[in-house]
Amino acid sequence: MPHREVLAEPGTRVVMLGNVAIARGALEAGVAYASGYPGTPSSEILEALSEASKKLGGPHVEWSINEKVALESAYGASLSGVPAMATMKHVGVNVAADPLFSLAYTGTPSAMVVVSADDPGMWSSQNEQDNRWYGVHAYIPVVEPSGVQSAREAVIEAFNISRRHGHPIILRTTTRTSHTRGIVEVGQINVEAVRGKGKFRRNIERYTLVPSHARRLRIELLDRWERIEEELSRSSLNSVEGDGELLILGVGLGYRYAREAARLLGVEARIAKLQTPVPLPRTFIHKALEGIDRVLVLEEGDPVVEQMLKAFLHDEGVRVEVHGREDGYIQRWGELGLDNVVEALSKLTGVEAGLPKPPRVEASLPPRPPALCPGCPYRGVYPGLRRAVRSSRVEVVYSGDIGCYSLGVLPPFRVQDTIVEMGGSIGLANGMARVAEGQVPIAVIGDSTFFHSGITGLINAVHNRNPMLVIILDNRTTAMTGHQPHPGVPVDARGGEAPQVDIEALVRAIGVEHVETVDAFTIRGVERAVRRAMDYVRREGKPAVLIARGSCILVALSQARRLGVGYPVYRVNPDKCMACTVCYTAFNCPAIFSLEDGKAKINPVLCTGCGVCVEVCPFNAFEPVEEPSEEWILLMRTATPG
């Protein structure tokens, strides 16, 4: 997605996504280096910066192999004297936590902002962690914009604070800021700065964290922390409005809910906007509390501010009722919403909520979990895998991982027994291989995930001789998060040419003996290759790797459109179809439906012309409306993003 609006003329008002507003703010602040690893809801920030970089000749933008390298790269750039930014989703910060803690100790001679895009509600994540704790834990101040409306200014201010104190800042955004579109008035991009280069100036006492240096820096860090806290009490990011005996403390997006809920209920209250939750700016809070006897804290995630506020009140000996997530006024899990905020406010003030009762629709609606796209290369791999396992009569554990292929957890495939974190498939398989008696682990991992953190687990498996089958699903992209490139494809973040790291050569080089690459679009081919690899693992007691290659069909389709290559659509010959149901149950393609009589029918609008159904049908009922072209057959196997 190009996000061209990131380059809107200064002074204009444009509709943009929160993430694009964050990118724009960074450009106005003069960011010269940006790196990241994709992850919902963070990815569009770097995409928009890439788009800007193509036109402006800066900043330098790259997709890193994982979040740790992303943070380290930006750290290095920042130590070399330019304002830098690293972007990632909340769980990515766990991967990057090691350098993050050091960053606070060394500080930076320029400016550095780490964007953590949190996902309360877990719309696209395995957990609901609140990364403001990282701010508390690592002594890094957290800036949290109050919605898309303030994202741009908040980023600019984050860079300013960082520059003034030579200290990193965490910009915490959440799904409803990152993925909400709103009207943003933009300012001037600092073109000279975004193209800027710096110099690394040696300062061994500061940049080498040997214990003697680190002890001194720890004391400096605590001192900086105090000074930053004092300054945040005067920050333009925080403000107070309205009056009453009730204070609604709106943290980040909580501020927007505070204002709208108070207006809906017609409640008189003082509302504080707090966009710098960590460290708690005590003087600001003190002032906001004057004459107040009750506080409602509205924050996305954990009761971070609520707990700090209570500790502060305790220290000050002030008795004020504090309500929020801890005492259940707002539920402990999930996102804020006008409904739960209005309810809390109404409970607190006794003002009747009076939200209209929604209509009751009496229909039994089946759930609609996400599914592999019609034409997805994995739809051929999974039945092949299952058939091979069934016929080999070996008990297996499917050690799964994170990506589009995680959808193989759903029926009818059921080929993920564990999904815990990126890279975990191979990691867990190491342990299973040694103690799960009579069971062979099969790690199922995507190409981007393999580079991110699968490779280390595999080296471990080779060295420790842990028997497992690793299936690398090479769909030539990081699909789940919006089709970003990764080191295995020949394109970089800006769509330019890049050297590609050959997975097969890499895996051989670390000492895996049984390596095979198979076409993902042939069920039988996959089945035979899995059987061969399983035989090897059982015979030799060592790891084997199977690379199933086939492009993400969405990437293939968009390339086909661009190149003017047509793709075929398939249909069912009703005379041949025997209503055996295999294609819409066991194969489960969303483009194939059952008719009243149980026969299959293809929805031509959904069909993407992969043709795998031809192999699935025992009666040869599927046929292309037009024969597929050679160009299309090649694109399905080779297309990469960009």
């Binding site: 997006l253 929604p358 209509p359 629709v361 609609r368 599914a371 959808l407 998060t481």
Partner: protein, 193 residues
């Protein structure tokens, strides 16, 4: 007047594009707008809902009971998010029902869904947007056709004017000829309604 519009459908149907067009059109109209989108996992053929709020609004999500219009690109998903609507609100639906690709799951019929929405006291309008868009050469234009149909019914008053919507389509969609044609066809079909 504030307007709260729910757009629902199946990932891949152009739901976010539809919302982007509405947001641009609101900007052209000089109105404030917020669009809360669903990205990531559910875009893979899952249930997708987008909240469009126009006017003096600050929070991104429409609370249950306050939506005044639902644009449904798919019937089951339209019904699923009807709980966001106010009593008596309007539903404009594409006559398309896609059974979820789950083995052995029984899906209701299009007639069932339309009937239950009406029985819940909602004002329901429907058009076969996919079929009409296919006549113009591209099924992917079903979304702008449905927008045209909605505008033609007068349900986008206070959000955008027909001319503004056309300009918005051209701004949002790169090769927009068919999309604009579909939009106009939608307007026309609504006037016959």
């Amino acid at each position: 007047m504030d307007r709260n519009i729910v757009i629902a459908g199946v990932g891949g149907q152009g739901i976010i594009t539809t919302a982007k067009i509405l947001a641009e059109a609101a900007l052209i109209e000089g109105r404030n707008v917020l669009v809360a989108e669903t990205h990531g996992l559910s875009q893979r053929g899952g249930s997708v809902v987008v909240h469009v709020r126009v006017g003096d609004v600050e929070a991104p999500l429409i609370p249950p009971g306050m939506g005044d219009l639902l644009i449904g690109l798919e019937a089951i998903e339209a019904a699923r998010y009807a709980s966001l609507l106010a009593p008596g609100a309007s539903v404009v639906m594409n006559e398309d029902l896609q059974p979820p690709p789950l083995p052995r799951v029984k899906a209701p019929s299009l007639g069932d869904v339309l009937g239950s929405l009406k029985a819940a006291g909602l004002r329901v309008y429907s058009v076969n947007a996919v079929e009409e868009a296919l006549k113009l050469g591209d099924a992917r234009s079903a979304n702008t056709l449905l927008l045209g149909y909605t505008a033609g019914l007068g349900l986008l008053e206070g959000v955008a004017r027909p001319g503004g919507l056309e300009e918005a389509i051209a701004r949002v969609i790169r090769r927009s000829r068919t999309a604009v044609e579909a939009y106009r066809r939608g307007l026309e079909l609504a006037s016959v309604h």
